[in-house]
Symmetry: D2
Subunit: 134 residues, 4 copies
Amino acid sequence: MVEECDIEVRVRYCEADPMGYLHHSQYFVFMEMARTELLLRNGMRYRDCEKQGVFFVVVKAEIRYKSPARYDDSLRIHVRIARMTRARIEHEYHVYKDGRIIAEAATVLGCVGRDGRVQEIPESLRDDQPPGNT
Amino acid sequence: MVEECDIEVRVRYCEADPMGYLHHSQYFVFMEMARTELLLRNGMRYRDCEKQGVFFVVVKAEIRYKSPARYDDSLRIHVRIARMTRARIEHEYHVYKDGRIIAEAATVLGCVGRDGRVQEIPESLRDDQPPGNT
Amino acid sequence: MVEECDIEVRVRYCEADPMGYLHHSQYFVFMEMARTELLLRNGMRYRDCEKQGVFFVVVKAEIRYKSPARYDDSLRIHVRIARMTRARIEHEYHVYKDGRIIAEAATVLGCVGRDGRVQEIPESLRDDQPPGNT
Amino acid sequence: MVEECDIEVRVRYCEADPMGYLHHSQYFVFMEMARTELLLRNGMRYRDCEKQGVFFVVVKAEIRYKSPARYDDSLRIHVRIARMTRARIEHEYHVYKDGRIIAEAATVLGCVGRDGRVQEIPESLRDDQPPGNT
């Protein structure tokens, strides 16, 4: 199972605020894109998950902003699966600009069905099954 | 049938760009809010429309920006139904700041079903039925 | 000093995602609006702060999502100043839908100058000055 | 002078609305990104323009939506300079999905200074100077 990956994003004009800084809410969008990419590297497209009735919702998030990003800056988002249980995934993130960490974050996602109720993460997305048990 | 109305919106921090101006794409969000309000004054909530399988999609839009809006500005959006046919609604908009028009726009919406196919606007949303024919 | 307040917001169509839920990043926008309102009740408009070279940047944030909000839902955001030091303000938030808490959050803001460097929060925004010392 | 170019964008989760469609306001963001890329291919970064006191504001826009885009769709935005005068640039756009045009648009940008007043487009960004006159 691929447990970490990086994406590159460039800050769009409308994502920067009157102070000229990338708006703090936007980091969560970039982190979501990084999670999606990580899922893809594990052979799943999130939109296919949804078609199969598997949804992930953010249950908890925390972030520390160390220094700002600005319009047109190129950022690298590193995401890593820190922990996975039957119905939850914990990710950790580092946001880099010019090789320097500008933000650190963590999220907890819960797996839910179309009705919003908690359900188990499908085995195909978990790596905790015993070898030979795929 | 109520054919026009106004809404007030205040420009949010993240809606203004590094130039300090309300981003031009955001006017379309405000215009959508004005349409929703107009629908509501005619006794329909858009989310109920969707539950009934009645969706409106923007088919065409045009806008002229006359002067900018900035963070924290209070804007008034006036919307008016200019024309309604069996499957389309044309709206006209004026955006005011301190009583002065800062933008003028027009949209054409098409009525579609859950599958995205064109369908007739339900009679309850049209005013072209003969009197006594509700 | 006014230390807490509430704002009401209605979820816009474009703020809800394909799952039909208010996107998790959007809560931070609503929390910012609540902070701005709290500042206003204390006699300051944030845009005037900026004109005077006083900026507030989010240094840290955390949030727990308990249940989702949907398009057109009316939400109440309650914000409270939990702690204020020379250069930082800590806020706590509760997001309510139909009287029930759907999210809880906390942020730490730092006061910076136009150059992005940490500076003291102006006395007029603090309540820790001794009486008669305004 | 490079007069046209393409960019590729992938529709983000939060850019799609409850209907599952890319929100109509978001096309303007993608068109802005395409303009920025075109500028870059002509040797200018827009953020450097701004540092030099050269700003471009959207004066007029129009768009026709032919068919929807959805979350995770990959779109190609083609932009072309249709006309340039002393203080205005007209661009035309085609948005493609799987090789098919899903939207057509046009914008008029005006060149303004830091004070928002109309100014001439700097010669370095125009191609109307006689040969050998750079």
